[in-house]
Symmetry: D2
Subunit: 328 residues, 4 copies
């Protein structure tokens, strides 16, 4: 049994806790959270106990840690866990600054520990099937990627202020999808946007509606459109045009009911938000982590991927601020 | 913790075992199977042990049993479990003969034990949403139900011979859907069919393609079409026409990928077979069973439902054999 | 130029008039209707003139007639047109009685005139594509046909009374689809139904909701479900299960708009009623008629097809009335 | 009857000729083409005759002209037709240079003649329904428009060379859709692209894959993605995100057949190319032209719209060439 400590007992921490508990060959041992009550409650639900960071990292039986605490703690926990020789699963982003993210990448490399980044979308069955089918040659050479990324509603402005901005907080996932699907690196980035949802977001120095264009080394093109509000729920799609066809990754729905009424014919809206939409993805990424730990299968999402996505987010922010095309 | 014994370590037994193990407040204790090796292996996977029927039923700590053994053992196990005062979850059908099914219903009633029948389709999210929306009045009064029920391929003829025939073995589920969705009882049944898939099925005295028409006390109508073979997989749909609209329950798909190629635009086939299609339904029916056991919530599928479905299967068989409309 | 006379200036007559006017090589000459004002108005719209039956049939320049008058006049006009040596296009049904329909078939045969029956559904692009793909072997051997046939609302009871009943008036089209798609003849018919839409229809001795099961000489099966009311419009679908796959013919929609709202995701309802749904089919059947007349291409829908569909309607009526399976 | 002359007997001229011939109250009189044989053939098909530009414009009975000749002749024919006092329907674009397009707009204004530009997409039933529903407030305030515009395959390089480039030749339609749907004007344009389909297009100084981002005065955003090649046919879609929902305009298909096979479930590809996709749009724009001419209903697409779309095409070309954001 691989014994594991979880950092963070919040919304995403709970998801990981359940997946850890259901993981064959894994023993869910500690939960660490500044809110010790929350930590104890979550631990109790799945047969573990509350602990401090120090205690968890000092326990030699702990072979792996899952970092699901607030963004500003990620880098510190990565550095300490790497130093303690633990295998690391860390939620995105590595950090909001490139320098600290690079330091993490270096520390992980030096410590020779496994470090997987939680870009869970790469483990979504629909997204993963598209990737697999592209690699199998179904659409020839990929040429153009269109990514749609819309949240059901904006987070509180207090969160916006510490989020790093829409490009680092929200589009970071889309930048990773771009790199993964087009299998190429950006050479230029153009971004612009508006505050159309809530003026307070603008006053906080951020955007709530953003569009990005990326051109790659091979001349491939990517357009991302993102909004903090979709009245119809969580909208996560992309499509890839290739020389021999196109693949679309669509939204998942709660049921397959179709209703014929006197006004129209309707189906379910997409799954509500990321916890529902990526429920299977969260389970599969955790399985993937322990697979890599146990059998040495290569990681699909590394700290390097986190770093590259962060660089794109920085470039997009700069492009928007200076109203110009940014060369990467 | 409610301690539970499972009878049957085969295909469906394994599904139930995993759902029992994941059930909060439930302790998965014994697996009973004529194949003791299989029983021990399955028990080990989820922290239980192999046992005999006698031992399992004699253990006073066992509060509930899950019967997932072969059909010919169901009635006997129900009778013995009821006599032992255990709560019973039993896979469909109760039995292949109405007399024995009635005896089970009587025994359960006398023993005053909970007895839930595993008509898992009523717990499928899509099917259940249709039921809920009908009850909410979305389509007015239900008038006409069309059920499509097709397996990916026929079972071995050796199984066909002991199956009770296509109406008892396969359409038993559809007869239950009919009663549940139209919320009414049959007054007449017409059935006919053919052997179009495999002549050996006909030689065994059975059909592989069957169609049934049912008329209810309120004059509502139901048509069922069933086949032992659908080249495109497992096809489980129904639609209900009401005075104010229609609701369709469609198939579930593995992913939401759409492919645009030079020949056509395609999506995934339906989920392969019942274990995949009803994966969520199996989990939800088990949660429902323990919910009923713990909180006294009324059972959605009882031994009475099993009996009524069996009566319809008998009527359909008679209608087909005698080529006439059978009054129920 | 082929000069043509049209009998009937009503709803369907207007459709045929426009298609005749647009037909290359055809001169639209006379309109005949008991309502002479309507006849003159329709004729004027497309450059023809009003005439009597006698005058139209006596004009040797008239090579073809289109019979779109009320059902009770069809047989008489067929007999007189055949006697006058005109090529005949006649709306369905030939007649409401089999005897008179047979007499028409015989007269047409003796006069050696072309006589096409207006089963327009065989000319619908979607339905025709299914037929073509079945013939190309795409789904192997057809085994099971499910036909859905629902009107948006019932006609006036005054019409119901002279309609010949739901089987002859409405399902006659579905009986023709059955013969065409399964490419086989019925050996047994079972029909039942209810009055769920309007009790006045029942008082007039008819049904408003009907289901039919047909078994063919080759053991193929067909189920038809029909209703005089679908709150969501005109619903005309069928699906064919074959040994190697399935083909579905779906409804047509006015537009391809998809709306994502806070409640659901919706698309257009099907086209309103038969004039919209079969607009292209009506144009294509007229082109087919003149193609047959000019180039001798074989007719896709003959008076024989009308006769066979009528026989099935009679069998279904008998089955319903006597609550038994009828052998054809 | 309004007598009409048609300039151009090519592919698009033929479409307009058939629509003119079917137009009630319109007499199709002359066809003018440098290829007199083609002109005579097309005229003969619909009851008109071949003529020279001079003769057609000198005929006082001619009230309207339809300009469907090659792009380089548009401006000259507009100027001459306006001078002759004819109502003008002109295919897009007005001209490839803004100066000449402006001269046309001025001439039309001075001559006080009706001048409609053939942006046929605004007359497509699906696109028009989206516009109408936005105006009815269904999605609140429009915020974000994503336009997909892909041809089945590139035109010959000889055509590319005189086309004005991908932005003026192909995206001109999308720029018009942008202005129409977002009901706002551009303030900045960013465009980039690649040659991924055919290097010869690049050698001719053009792109075959292009992406454009537009920001409007009200802060609304538009992304256009375009390719000269889609292996699956002609792809013409857009979606509009608003504050209260989203509307998508999808492709049209030849039939509504769904096929379930052993590999996947498939439907038809989109309509082949613009002549099929916009068949109804071409008919409706011609009806709209004569409606405006006869009843004075305001034009939906004017020479001003042509000019504005051309300005956006110029801005996009500049943005791509100079790799910068262009302020409009």
């Amino acid at each position: 049994m691989i014994e594991v400590a979880l950092f963070g007992a919040g919304r995403i921490g709970k998801i990981h806790a359940a997946n850890l508990a259901a993981q064959p060959g894994v023993q869910f041992k500690y939960v660490v959270d500044v809110n010790q009550e929350a930590a104890a409650a979550l631990a109790g639900l799945h047969g573990g106990s509350s602990a401090t960071v120090e205690a968890a990292l000092a326990d030699p039986a702990i072979k792996a840690v899952v970092i699901a605490s607030s963004t500003d703690t990620h880098a510190d926990l990565i550095l300490r866990s790497a130093a303690a020789g633990k295998a690391i699963f860390c939620e995105k982003p590595v950090d909001l600054t490139i320098d600290r993210a690079r330091a993490c990448a270096a520390a992980v490399k030096e410590a020779k520990v496994l470090c997987m980044l939680g870009f869970q979308r790469r483990y979504d069955p629909t997204f993963h099937a598209v990737k697999t089918r592209i690699e199998a040659g179904e659409i020839g050479t990929p040429e153009l990627l269109v990514v749609t990324s819309r949240d059901p509603g904006p987070p509180p402005v207090s969160y916006i202020k510490v989020s790093g901005g829409i490009f680092k907080d929200m589009l970071i996932h889309d930048f990773d999808i771009f790199r993964w699907i087009l299998d190429d690196e950006a050479v230029s980035v153009h971004a612009t946007g508006s505050c159309l949802v809530d003026p307070a977001i603008g006053e906080a120095g951020d955007l709530d509606t953003a569009v990005v264009t990326i051109r790659t080394a091979k001349g491939r093109l990517c357009q991302i459109n993102a909004s903090r509000r979709a009245a119809y729920g969580y909208d996560q799609r992309f499509e890839v045009l290739g020389s021999a066809g196109m693949l679309q990754a669509g939204n998942h729905k709660p049921t397959e009911v179709t209703a014929y009424g006197s006004v129209n014919v309707s189906v379910d809206k997409p799954e509500d938000f990321f916890l529902e939409r990526y429920r299977v993805a969260y389970a599969q990424e955790m399985a993937h982590f322990f697979d890599a730990l146990t059998h040495g299968t290569p990681l699909r999402t590394t700290v390097h991927d986190g770093l590259k996505a962060l660089e794109l987010a920085e470039a997009a922010t700069l492009s928007w601020r200076e109203q110009r095309v940014v060369t990467v």
